[in-house]
């Protein structure tokens, strides 16, 4: 269900090996103005990506993006590869330590923008059926990392459909700023809060939910710890406490993922 462009797959391999990019990224205002949770902006190097946050924030948005992306890579699930980027000292008040999320495939469109377009009705019906498995898997992932920003958010699910219907649907969940520590100002990880599926009109596949939950539970603790611990301190305010919370929260919810999912799904 992770069908990214092959250039992006190569970039993903690099990102998983090396958390901080050494590529010469540059700003690309010519590609347009982005908005969203942590004010993002276009950049490019060997490929195009979305950098965030624009301004420094106490919440480690860049770290959230990187951690979610690396966990998804290991599972593997359709979250675009993310690298960390040190922009160097800036006099503008903009954030120096940011994340860059790769554009996952050539013609990404926001599901919220095309879903409901009357001219696309038969196509969106077909896409909805084809995205059932991926969306069912991603609701497990979102429950694990406690993402609260995929509740029918129009812009956080990207799709592209090949004219040949037998080709796999290209599908990517983006924006993990509002997950993990953002959802856990105290010890809220210990609850059973389970975010709803992105689109309630897409049929949920309980077999896929069970199978993905099992894969999440089988992910080695060492991988999870490594993904969190290797984030450089500059990308996380109060790194010791923040990282401890991230490890504790993710390991606790990993162990209880089935219990969390059962609050919303009959599995």
């Amino acid at each position: 269900m992770r069908y990214f462009d092959e250039r992006v797959d190569r970039f993903a391999d690099q990102c998983r090996r090396q958390p901080v990019t050494q590529e010469p990224w540059r700003l690309r205002p010519d590609l347009g103005t982005l908005s969203g949770a942590a004010s993002s902006y276009w950049v490019s190097a060997s490929i195009v990506g979305v950098a965030k946050p624009l301004k420094p924030d106490n919440c480690p948005f860049a770290a959230h993006e990187k951690i979610a992306s690396d966990l998804a890579y290991d599972l593997p699930l359709p979250v675009p590869p993310v690298t960390l980027w040190d922009r160097g000292p800036l006099s503008t008040g903009d954030c120096q330590y940011v994340s860059i999320s790769a554009v996952p495939f050539p013609q990404p469109r926001e599901w919220g923008k095309i879903n409901g377009d009357p001219t696309l009705r038969s196509l969106t019906d077909s896409i909805r059926r084809r995205m059932s498995s991926a969306m069912s898997a991603m609701l497990v992932f979102d429950a694990w990392v406690h993402n609260t920003d995929h509740d029918n958010h129009p812009g956080n699910l990207l799709v592209s459909a090949d004219p040949d219907e037998t080709s796999p649907l290209r599908f990517a969940y983006i924006d993990y700023s509002y997950s993990m520590n953002h959802s856990w100002p105290n010890n809220e990880w210990s609850g059973v809060s389970c975010p709803p599926p992105y689109d309630r009109h897409v049929p949920v596949n309980t077999d896929v939910i069970r199978e993905t939950a099992q894969r999440v539970q089988e992910l080695p603790e060492a991988n999870i710890r490594e993904i969190i611990e290797r984030i450089p301190a500059e990308y996380v305010s109060d790194p010791d406490q923040s990282k401890r919370k991230l490890v504790t929260g993710l390991l606790d919810r990993q162990r209880r993922i089935t219990e969390i999912l059962r609050t919303r799904h009959a599995i």
């Binding site: 690309r28 590609l31 060997s46 490929i47 195009v48 790769a102 095309i114 001219t119 990207l158 090949d162």
Partner: protein
Amino acid sequence: MQSRSELGDTSMKRERSWMAISAIQYRTDLVAPDSPQIDLGFLLEIKAPTATVLAMMVRKSLTAKETESLDAIARTQLSDPAKYLEAECSKALATFEGNVLEHLSREYVWAFTVTAPHQKDIPTKVANLKRPETLVTRAIEWLVREVEKTEQADHDVKSSAERAARRRLGAGHRRALGRFTSTSRASRRRDYSCRVTGELELRI
């Protein structure tokens, strides 16, 4: 007691008049740094005391080669670009109050893109003209110039056959302008909103 004209003059002085233009593009490979694109046309917005206008000038159709480069979603939507974009503009007009292009440029940011509006002030003496058609006509001329600039940048005109084709393209623009003039004549009001679907012939 102030006269009506004095009140009117005061409000006109306070309100900034502007027009803005955005390009409509479809990026066929947003992964690539050079992000190749299909130019679909332009949107124009005017905000002045006597005119609130959203106009658009878009291509009637895409070439076979362009269509081939699209995914299934864009292929369906852009089978009739003007119809699709007119529907999107209607939605935008119904949703956003003012600064429609600014909103659209933040809404359409992935493969289908409305670029950040390039805005310029309208001089007061032009903005306060009693006949807003003059203002609108000037704005539409700007729209046409932008379309022609894009054409110029994208394609060197090398042969006389191509030059002749470009003249035909200019005729298409004039037809669009004519259609607009008749629309604005039909709606002479202090504040009015009208939409224009321009005609733009295929690229050479």
